[in-house]
């Protein structure tokens, strides 16, 4: 049950701060998202630039990049995911504790990018793990990564604590771990996780 904005402002003027548990809970979560140190290729350089002085990402809550997946809230998939690396990416994602989020940074993480026809390129990490925010770009500018961060923060703000559309970490039936692909003879097996990704139907003339 949300509080009426005008009432909030009026009460605020009198020194009374009114909020809901959901707002408080989500504000705490979105203001301190700690990413995992996970850079694969060129987009990782842009991610590092975003954390440095000029485009400081720590302003937005990601104060430290945790090296261990157990202590991280978010994974920024920055760079080309090769098929040889894909099972390890999924394993690291499984090891992260809920609530966890994924930002697919750059064209390679979204769909394979400029190297899509490569023999070792996984055509998009969202084949195996659920992705919350996709940022196009090759590489996306640091401002674009910050925009993705803010989009993720807005998404976390809008999550309800109860009800049908509550987030995964509050839902006992929702899966938190996803199938790790195996190395097959010609390709990864399975080539995509059907529960996570369905190929979009595009009509080509």
């Amino acid at each position: 049950m949300a509080v009426d904005e005008n009432l909030k402002i009026e009460l605020g003027k009198q020194g009374v701060f009114v909020t809901t548990i959901q707002e408080l809970y989500n504000w705490g979560r979105r203001s301190s998202i700690w990413p995992m140190q996970f850079g694969l290729a060129c987009c990782a350089i842009e991610m590092i630039a975003t954390t440095m002085a000029r485009y400081d990402l720590a302003r937005f809550g990601s104060e430290v990049f945790r090296p261990s997946p157990r202590q991280a809230d978010m994974m920024i998939i920055s760079g080309t995911v090769t098929k040889k690396m894909a099972p390890q990416v999924v394993r690291l994602y499984n090891q992260m504790a809920e609530p966890k989020y994924v930002i697919a940074m750059g064209a390679c993480a979204i769909s394979g990018g400029p190297f899509k026809q490569g023999y070792n390129v996984l055509k998009g990490i969202d084949r195996y793990i659920p992705v919350d925010v996709h940022i196009p770009g090759c590489p996306p500018r640091p401002e674009a990564l910050i925009q993705a961060f803010m989009t993720l923060q807005k998404k976390i703000d809008a999550q309800h604590l109860t009800g049908e559309d509550r987030p995964r970490h509050l839902d006992a039936n929702a899966p938190g771990e996803f199938q790790v692909p195996e190395f097959g003879e010609h390709d990864l097996e399975p080539s995509s996780n059907a529960g996570v990704w369905q190929p979009p139907l595009v009509t080509i003339k």
């Binding site: 023999y119 070792n120 190395f183 190929p199 139907l201 080509i204």
Partner: protein, 217 residues
Amino acid sequence: MEETKAAIERAVPGAVVTVIPNASPSGQHSLLIGEEHAVAIGTFLRDDAELALDFLSNVTGVDYLDKEIAEKVKVTRRVPKAVDGAEPNQVQMVEETVEETRKHTQPGYLEAVYHLYSVSKKHGPVVIRQRTANRSDQVELPSLTSVWRSAEFQEREVFDLFGIVFKGHPDLRRILMWDEFKDYPMRRDYVEPDDFEYEPTAHDQVLKRAQEHEGRV
């Protein structure tokens, strides 16, 4: 190139060296060396006072497919022909010249190509090649890792992508693909796995492949 070939033949007796000319504007002719004396030739090229080719900058592989050659040959044969004469079914032997198309297959092979430079003398590149007997079962070549250490990883890459087995390599296993992978991706007849389910801006071959997927989930 000719002087290098002569120097090799003097230093390594019995070595089989052929100059393969390069018709392109770069004019980088290469030397095809035989299997038995490859390591000896490599050692000579590295240790010689004049050549001093101590830097192996690149090892790569090339795949030549089997070629079907069709030739038109004029053949003269004696053929029985029915002659329209007074008596039916009379057969006469006549000489006839026919053009026949004969096809034969020139077997393909795999090559490992080495680019050598000299750091001390500042010359190069000298390009040497090793050729396998065919593409299917006789794909072994001697490894030049004992001569130039930088061949170690690069020959692993050639093994991974082309399938050339290097004898005498200290650690021959796949380097880019995973160990359970069965194909050799850079060969001409490599077929990619079918994971091109959609393509927003398809064109040419990619368009053909995407159209095969249309309607399928």
